[in-house]
């Protein structure tokens, strides 16, 4: 069966690439390009994995992170942060499962999420 994954990324190209990578890892992907929409969708769905860009229009990635941590439903959700700023990446070491510094390669993301997904399937 396929699990749900949210790709929260405002850049059209990157969201396509990330979505394709996650789909290649057998996720059912929902692409979200706006912070406010993401806030709404996180209230409704229970994704197995969230790929989160920190620079978002509407609501910041920071606030979405807080929302995920505050919601008991989303306790098992794997959070992968995608950022271009290596310094910012260091700051989020404790609040995310994985931090990927852009540029993020398609194969790199595909292989990582494939591993995460298959581990989940085994559980």
């Amino acid at each position: 069966m396929s699990d749900l994954a949210y790709v929260i990324e405002d850049d059209e190209d990157l969201s396509t690439i990330f979505s394709e990578a996650l789909m290649a890892a057998n996720y059912e992907v929902e692409t979200i390009v706006n912070g406010l929409t993401a806030h709404q969708r996180l209230k409704e769905g229970t994704p197995h994995l969230v790929l989160l860009d920190l620079h978002l229009p509407g609501l910041s990635g920071d606030e979405l992170l807080n929302q995920i941590h505050a919601d008991k439903r989303l306790q098992k959700t794997i959070v992968v942060i995608a950022t271009a700023d290596a310094r910012l990446g260091d700051a989020y070491r404790d609040s995310a499962d994985y931090i990927l510094i852009k540029p993020i390669s398609f194969t790199q993301l595909r292989d990582l999420t494939l591993r995460l997904h298959s581990r989940h399937d085994k559980d």
Partner: protein, 574 residues
């Protein structure tokens, strides 16, 4: 009493430029004044005495002579006194001596004057001449005496002139004595005067020096004040009790505080000024109460302005602290630029990487056949796009690293790490590049190297990757060898040795400059901006290490980076 004495002294003093002349004429004045007083007393005594003893007013011839000669003497003395005061030089003294000799020749009977009781009178003009006139005139006075004696002797009967010979010898001898003594006095007085002149000269010189140095000091002080008044940095000097004693105009302008409010205020008054929040207040207070601390200057936000503030203790010439000086430099503009630079850095970082990431991702998807199968040539073309995009991303990273280091924004993440991991990672990352150029890439770790080291693994890896990249870039055949070792017990080192073209000696000191390759024309042949070594150098400096290069043209280069070994006990493990 004093007034009378001063009046008498004024009368006796003779104004003259020549001190000898003044001395002689004053002496004559004293003698003449004495004569005048004596004559007056004598005349009064005579008149009174005659009044009581000769009521009939019949004076004897002797009495008349005595009276008139005294009166004559009085008149002569007064005239000479006046002449002496008015006429410069010897004239009055000369006349006085001549009159005296003539007077003496009438003072007694010729017989007594020539051979008897009054002969001694002739010695008086000799001594007086030696003192009232130049000393040699003692001899002239003696000659005059001799002439008068000869005239007197001729009036005497039975007195051959040759009998005067012993008298003449005596007079000559006395004149010699008078001359010698007067000469002695003259010489000592002259020496004394010379000493006085020298002393005056010395005093004058010293006074001139003193006034010159005072003037210099005044000019120096004036200059310092002028500098203080005109510099654009704010300067406040606090005394040892923390009271502001010097405040320059720039301070009042920069801090927007009236000078009266700052001068004489205390450090705590200043820190309580409007525009300072609690944090900046404590920074300023700390800076002013503990001057000379590290770092040397602080950024201080004061209202809408940003200042770079530094402080230092002021010492006097004895090295005793006497206060604190604080310098406020307007840093507002620079701070804005710094902030802008940060924004640009972040923007560039995001805006450059995002499209590159998109290119990379799309091509990868093509190559991975996400959109359907592709043929071998298409796959090769995709690979070329991917590798060139990676190169472009590396350049962007280098530029951003360089900018970050220069802006002082690069921070290190210090953790324990295994040197083994470091070497494996680098070999893994660089293996393909070396293989593409058919170069051997090898690595070794010497056994004495600790199994765990402390440092920023990611940055150490970056240093090593840059060095290896550089070595691979400039080596056409042969090998690149990485060695991790301990040069001594307190240091560990990373060494990258190649068999490349080498670096000429005169270029070796420039190779760590940013945007520089040994020969600028080579930039086209060997890709890259020449940022790699500059970043290595700056990262190594940031980590407290040292980088060195040894190179021989045509043989190869050895880059060695040395770091102090940090004891594991001193750092908290995460």
């Amino acid at each position: 009493m004093n007034v009378v004495l001063r009046r008498i002294r004024n009368w006796l003093d003779v104004p003259s430029d020549d001190p000898d002349d003044a001395r002689r004429r004053k002496l004559l004045n004293i003698i003449l004044a004495g004569f005048i007083v004596l004559c007056i007393l004598l005349l009064l005594t005579l008149l009174i005495w005659l009044q009581f003893t000769k009521p009939s007013n019949e004076w004897s011839a002797d009495e008349k002579i005595l009276f008139w000669s005294t009166a004559g003497l009085l008149l002569t003395s007064i005239l000479l006194f006046v002449a002496n005061r008015l006429v410069r030089g010897w004239s009055a003294s000369g006349l006085f001596i001549v009159f005296m000799i003539i007077g003496i020749s009438f003072a007694d009977q010729p017989e007594q004057l020539v051979t008897g009781r009054s002969l001694f009178l002739f010695t008086i003009p000799i001594f007086l001449a030696s003192m009232l006139l130049p000393s040699w005139t003692a001899f002239i006075a003696a000659l005059l005496d001799m002439a008068i004696l000869a005239i007197l002797a001729r009036q005497l009967q039975n007195f051959p002139l040759s009998s005067l010979f012993p008298t003449y010898i005596g007079l000559a001898f006395i004149s010699l004595l008078a001359w010698l003594s007067a000469r002695g006095v003259e010489i000592s007085l002259r020496d004394l005067r010379r000493l006085n002149i020298e002393l005056d000269q010395r005093v004058a010189d010293r006074t001139r020096e003193l006034s010159a140095s005072l003037a210099r000091e005044r000019i120096e002080a004036g200059r310092s004040i002028a500098i203080l008044e005109s510099i654009t940095d704010g300067v406040i000097v606090f005394d040892i009790h923390g009271k502001a004693i010097v405040v320059n105009p720039a301070t009042t302008q920069l801090l927007n505080l009236p000078r009266d409010q700052v001068i004489n205020s205390s450090i705590s008054d200043l820190t309580r000024s409007k525009g300072l929040d609690a944090n900046n207040r404590s920074i300023l207070g700390d800076l002013l109460t503990n001057p000379g601390q590290q770092p040397a200057s602080y950024r201080l936000h004061w209202g809408k302005k940003t200042f770079s503030v530094s402080s230092a203790q002021v010492f006097d010439t004895e090295e005793t602290p006497i206060g604190t000086v604080a310098i406020f430099r307007d840093y507002t503009h620079e701070a804005e630029i710094e902030k802008m630079k940060d924004t640009i850095l972040a923007t560039v970082s995001h805006e450059l990487r995002t499209p590159l990431n998109a290119i990379l991702g799309h091509v990868e998807m093509l190559k991975e056949a996400v959109y359907g199968p592709i043929n071998e040539r298409q796959a090769r073309a995709s690979e070329r796009v991917i590798s060139n995009t990676h190169r472009l991303l590396d350049i962007v990273s280098d530029l951003l690293d360089q900018a970050q280091i220069q802006a002082g924004k690069m921070s290190l993440k210090i953790h324990p790490f295994k040197p083994n991991d470091l070497l494996d990672n680098v070999l893994g990352l660089m293996f393909k590049t070396a293989a593409d150029k058919h170069l051997a890439l090898t690595g070794e770790i010497e056994p004495e190297l600790p199994e765990i080291l402390i440092g920023d693994l990611r940055r150490l890896q970056q240093i090593l990757v840059n060095l290896v990249n550089n070595a691979l870039k400039f080596t056409e055949k042969g090998s690149v060898h990485i060695r991790l070792f301990c040069p001594d017990r307190k240091h560990w080192a990373m060494e990258v040795q190649d068999t490349g073209m080498g670096i000429p000696e005169d270029e070796q000191e420039h190779i760590f400059d940013p945007f520089r390759q040994v020969d600028n024309s080579m930039t086209r042949k060997y890709a890259g901006f020449g940022l790699g070594l500059s970043i290595v150098n700056q990262l190594v400096a940031l980590m407290g290490g040292d980088v060195a290069v040894k190179s021989t043209v045509g043989v190869g280069s050895v880059f060695t980076v040395t770091f102090p070994i940090v004891q594991t006990g001193g750092i908290q493990h995460e």
